[in-house]
C-alpha cells in the first residue's frame, strides 16, 4: 500500500508541473495574442510535429547518424588511447592539460575549419567533430578508471608476482568498465548537441539544426518548434539508451567485482 | 529539583504501518542536578532516541518530559543544554574559534563578546593556541574537544552527548574522559551520555542506565559506588571493576534473551 503511495508522491508533482506549464503556455499565447514569431502555442506545435513527422524523422536520422557514428568512433578511440595513457605517465601529463583546456573552449567552432577540408556535401566534418568531443570525454574518464584502482588490489596482485599486463587485465580493466559506460552516458547528449550545432556552420543542410534555422528564416516558427521537439526527443533517446547500457553493464557495481575475485 | 524528569515516555515510529518501530516503551527516569548519567545498551535499544527526546529533536508519542522545570521545547529555545555528537560536526569553512561562536551568533551576541567567550572555552579545553586554525588541521581528539567547547559555549546546565568519543582511539578516549569530568565538575553540569563502552560508562557516571531493545526500555539502573573524585587511579580501583561487572551482568541478562552485538568489553 505504502509503495503505491510513494510512487505517486514521486511521479505526481512533476506531472502536475508539466501539465500546468503547458496549459499556461497555451493560455498565454491565446490570451495575450502572442505573435507566432515570439512563441507558438503547444497545440500548434504538436499539429506541425505530427503533420510533418516524416520530415522531422528524416532530419533526425541525419543528425542522429552523425551523432551515433561520432559516439561509437570516439568511444573506441578514446578507450584505446586511454590504455596508452595509463601505461605511459608522460603521455598522461601531456594529454590531460590539453583535455582540460578543450573542455572550456567552444570546440565546435572547428567545424568551420573542417568544412574546408572536405567536400561541401559531406557529413564527415560533423562526424569528426562529434568523434573529437566524445574522444576526450571517454579518454579522461576511462583513464581515471584505469589508474584510480584500489591500492590494496594492486598490492595483492603484486604479491602473486603478477605482471603489469596481468594487473591491467584483471584489476584495471574491470575497474574501468563502469567508468567507460558512465563516460558514454555523459558523452551521448554531448554527441547529439555537437552534431546539431555543427550544422549551423554551413555544409550539408539535411539535419535538424539546418531545418530549424531555415524554417525560422521563412517565418514558419511552429514548424521550427516541431523540429526542436524532434531534437529534444533525439537527445532523450540517446541519453536513455546509454543510461540503460550503463545499468546493464554494471549490475551491482563493486559487489559483483568482489564476487569475481573470490 | 531534578534536572530531568522523564515519566512513562514512549516513542513509536510509523505507527500503524508495516514498519512500525517501538523505539521506547514505558521509560521512567529522573536525573538529579549535577549528576552524570550514562545510557548504555545494544543497537536498537533506544538510547539515542531517548537523548533526542530530551533535546526536543523528537516528540514523545506518550508520556511527559520536564527539563529544568520546563518543557523540552522551551529548554531548547532557551538554550538550556549543549549537545555533542560522534562526528564532531564542526563546520570546515569556519575557524575553530568561529565554530564555537556559532550558537552565540544565533543568539545575537555581539562580536567582541562572542570572541571573548570562545577564547574562554578554548582555554578550558586547552586549545587556546588553535583559535584561528581550521578543523581539518586538528586531530580527531582535538576536534572533539572543540565540539565540547562549542556545546559549553552558552554555559548550559545540561550536556547531552551521543557517543562523542566513539571515533577516537583508546588512549585519546581515556584522556578525553578525564578532561570531560574535570570540566563538568568545575561547572556543576548535568550530563546525559550515550555510549557503547562499559568501562567508559562506569568511569564517567554516577549511575549507568542499562537499556534493551525490542521494544526499547530501561532494564536496570546501576549505581556506580566509587568513592571520591575520579582520576586515572580510579581505573585500577576495585570499585571500578565491580561497577564494570555489574553493568556487564545487567547487559548479559539482556543478552540471554536476544542475540545482540555492539557492546565493547574493553
Amino acid at each position: 500500500m505504502s509503495r503505491a503511495v510513494d510512487a505517486t508522491r514521486r511521479v505526481l508533482p512533476p506531472l502536475v508541473v508539466g501539465v500546468l506549464f503547458l496549459v499556461l503556455w497555451e493560455a498565454a499565447v491565446k490570451g495575450f495574442d502572442l505573435k507566432p514569431y515570439f512563441l507558438s502555442a503547444p497545440s500548434k506545435i504538436w499539429e506541425q510535429f505530427t503533420g510533418n513527422f516524416d520530415l522531422v524523422w528524416g532530419a533526425a536520422r541525419v543528425s542522429g547518424t552523425n551523432a551515433l557514428v561520432g559516439l561509437v568512433l570516439g568511444a573506441i578511440v578514446g578507450a584505446v588511447m586511454s590504455l596508452a595513457l595509463s601505461r605511459y605517465r608522460t603521455l598522461g601529463d601531456l594529454v590531460t592539460p590539453l583535455a582540460i583546456a578543450l573542455n572550456a573552449i567552444p570546440i565546435f567552432v572547428l567545424v568551420a575549419v573542417l568544412n574546408n577540408m572536405f567536400a561541401i556535401t559531406s557529413e564527415v566534418p560533423r562526424r569528426v567533430m562529434v568523434t573529437l568531443v566524445v574522444y576526450f570525454i571517454v579518454l579522461v574518464n576511462v583513464a581515471k578508471g584505469l589508474t584510480q584502482v584500489n591500492g590494496t588490489h594492486v598490492e595483492l596482485m603484486k604479491s602473486y608476482a603478477a605482471s603489469d599486463f596481468e594487473i591491467l587485465r584483471k584489476v584495471r580493466v574491470p575497474n574501468a568498465t563502469p567508468y567507460f559506460f558512465t563516460a558514454l552516458r555523459i558523452a551521448a547528449p554531448a554527441a547529439v548537441i555537437t552534431a546539431f550545432v555543427s550544422e549551423y556552420f554551413g555544409g550539408s543542410q539535411n539535419g535538424l539544426g539546418s531545418r530549424i534555422t531555415s524554417n525560422i528564416a521563412n517565418s514558419k516558427n511552429a514548424v521550427a518548434w516541431a523540429y526542436v521537439l524532434g531534437a529534444c526527443l533525439l537527445g532523450l533517446v540517446f541519453y536513455v539508451v546509454s543510461s540503460v547500457l550503463e545499468g546493464v553493464a554494471t549490475p551491482g557495481g563493486t559487489k559483483q567485482q568482489d564476487r569475481e575475485r573470490r | 529539583m531534578s534536572a530531568i524528569e522523564i515519566t512513562s515516555v514512549s516513542k513509536v515510529f510509523n505507527r500503524g504501518s508495516a514498519n512500525q518501530v517501538d523505539a521506547l516503551v514505558g521509560v521512567d527516569l529522573s536525573v538529579a542536578s549535577g549528576e552524570f548519567v550514562s545510557l548504555i545498551g545494544p543497537s536498537g535499544c533506544g538510547k539515542s532516541t531517548l537523548l533526542r527526546l530530551i533535546a526536543n529533536l523528537l516528540e514523545p508519542s506518550e508520556g511527559s518530559i520536564v527539563v529544568n522545570g520546563k518543557s523540552p521545547e522551551q529548554a531548547r529555545l532557551d538554550q538550556d543544554y549543549g549537545m555533542a555528537f560522534q562526528q564532531s560536526g564542526l563546520f570546515e569553512w569556519r575557524t575553530v574559534a568561529k565554530n564555537i561562536e556559532l550558537p552565540l551568533e544565533l543568539k545575537g551576541w555581539g562580536k567582541s563578546e562572542r570572541r571573548q567567550r570562545a577564547l574562554e572555552m578554548l582555554d578550558m579545553v586547552k586549545l587556546a593556541d588553535f583559535a584561528d586554525h581550521h578543523p581539518w588541521q586538528l586531530s580527531g581528539g582535538m576536534q572533539q574537544r572543540v565540539a565540547i567547547a562549542r556545546a559549553l559555549a552558552v554555559q548550559p546546565s545540561l550536556l547531552l552527548m551521543d557517543e562523542p568519543f566513539g571515533a577516537l582511539d583508546e588512549m585519546t578516549r581515556e584522556h578525553m574522559q578525564s578532561e570531560l569530568l574535570n570540566i563538568c565538575r568545575a561547572q556543576g553540569t548535568t550530563v546525559v551520555f550515550v555510549t557503547h563502552s562499559i568501562p567508559e560508562a562506569v568511569y564517567l557516571s554516577n549511575r549507568v542506565v542499562v537499556m534493551s531493545p525490542r521494544p526499547g526500555r530501561i532494564t536496570r539502573i546501576v549505581d556506580v559506588a566509587i568513592e571520591g573524585e575520579r582520576s586515572d587511579a580510579t581505573r585500577d580501583n576495585t570499585a571500578f571493576f565491580a561497577g564494570i561487572t555489574a553493568v556487564r551482568e545487567a547487559l548479559r541478562g539482556v543478552e540471554m534473551n536476544d542475540h545482540i552485538r555492539g557492546i565493547e568489553d574493553r
Binding site: 567552432v109 530549424i212 540517446f238 | 555528537f85
Partner: protein
C-alpha cells in the same frame, strides 16, 4: 606541459600536410582523408603570421585587433549570461530547498534538461531580436545571445546548488535545530557554505555552457561584433584566404579559456578556507 602538447599538435598537423594527399583521399571508398593542400590546411606559421596582417586588403586594422575585439565582445555577453543564469539557478535551488513540493515537481525536469539539446532553441530565441518589444523597449539583438547563455548556465547551477544544500550530515542539521535556528539562519550558516564545494563544478560547467550559448547565438544571427560572426565570415573566405578562419577559431578558444580562468579564480576564492583535496 600544455605548451608541449600544443607543439605536438602543431607537429602532427604539419606532418599530415607533408604526408597527406593534396586533394583529399578515400579510405575504403569513403572520402575520409581531408585535403592537405595549402588552401584547406594552411601551414601553422601562416596561421600565426596572419594575425599581424590587416583584416581586409586596403584596411589598416590588423586582424589581431579585430579578433580580439570580437572575442572581448562575446566575452562580455557570455559573462552577463553566466551571472544571470547562475543567480537564477541559485534562487531556484533555494526555492526547491525550502519547499519539498517544488523540488519534487521541478527537479526531474532540471535533470532531464541537461540531457536534451536545449541549444536547439537558439535560433528561436535569437529571432526575437529586432522584432520584440517589451514595455516599449525593443529587444536588442545581443540580449538574445546572453539570454541563451543564461539559459544554458541556469540548469547545472540549480541542480548542483540544490545538491549542495541537501549535503550536510544529519548531525549538523540536528545541531542547528538544537540551537532553535530558523530555516533562513540554517540556510545562511550551514546549507550555503556546505553547498560551495558542489557549486564549484556546476559553475565551471555553467561558464563553458554560457560561452557555447553565446557563440551559437552569434552564429545563428551573424550578430555583429561577436566572434561567432567572424568565424562564419572568415570561413566563407577560406578559399581565398585560408589562414584567416584560424585566427577567429583561436580567438574563440581564447574566449573560452578566459571565461574558464575567470571562474577558476572565483572558485579559488570560494574554496579558500577549505581543506585541499588530495588526488586519489
Amino acid at each position: 606541459m600544455f605548451v608541449v602538447s600544443l607543439l605536438i599538435v602543431a607537429v602532427v598537423w604539419e606532418f599530415y600536410k607533408w604526408v597527406g594527399p593534396a586533394d583529399g583521399g578515400k579510405v575504403f571508398g569513403w572520402s575520409l582523408l581531408p585535403r592537405s593542400n595549402d588552401n584547406a590546411m594552411p601551414h601553422v606559421w601562416d596561421m600565426l603570421s596572419r594575425y599581424g596582417r590587416p583584416e581586409v586588403r586596403g584596411s589598416d586594422r590588423e586582424i589581431w585587433r579585430v579578433v580580439l575585439a570580437g572575442a572581448w565582445f562575446s566575452f562580455r555577453l557570455a559573462l552577463v549570461g553566466f551571472v544571470l543564469g547562475s543567480t537564477l539557478g541559485i534562487a531556484l535551488a533555494v526555492l526547491m530547498a525550502r519547499f519539498k513540493v517544488a523540488e519534487r515537481g521541478i527537479l526531474p525536469y532540471l535533470v532531464v534538461s541537461q540531457t536534451v539539446p536545449l541549444i536547439a532553441l537558439a535560433p528561436l530565441v535569437v529571432s526575437w531580436g529586432g522584432k520584440l518589444e517589451i514595455f516599449g523597449y525593443e529587444w536588442p539583438r545581443w540580449l538574445s545571445a546572453s539570454v541563451l547563455g543564461a539559459f544554458l548556465a541556469f540548469f547545472p547551477v540549480s541542480v548542483g546548488t540544490l545538491k549542495g544544500f541537501t549535503s550536510p550530515p544529519g548531525a549538523s542539521l540536528e545541531l542547528m535545530q538544537s540551537y532553535a535556528a530558523s530555516w533562513w539562519q540554517t540556510l545562511r550558516r550551514l546549507r550555503f557554505p556546505a553547498a560551495v564545494p558542489f557549486m564549484v563544478p556546476a559553475l565551471k560547467l555553467a561558464a563553458s555552457s554560457s560561452v557555447i550559448g553565446v557563440v551559437v547565438a552569434e552564429i545563428s544571427t551573424g550578430l555583429k561584433g561577436g566572434i561567432g560572426r567572424l568565424i562564419i565570415e572568415y570561413g566563407r573566405q577560406a578559399t581565398s584566404d585560408p589562414a584567416k578562419v584560424f585566427t577567429a577559431v583561436f580567438g574563440a578558444a581564447l574566449l573560452g579559456l578566459t571565461m574558464a580562468g575567470f571562474v577558476a579564480l572565483a572558485d579559488l576564492w570560494m574554496m579558500r578556507n577549505r581543506p585541499k583535496e588530495t588526488a586519489a
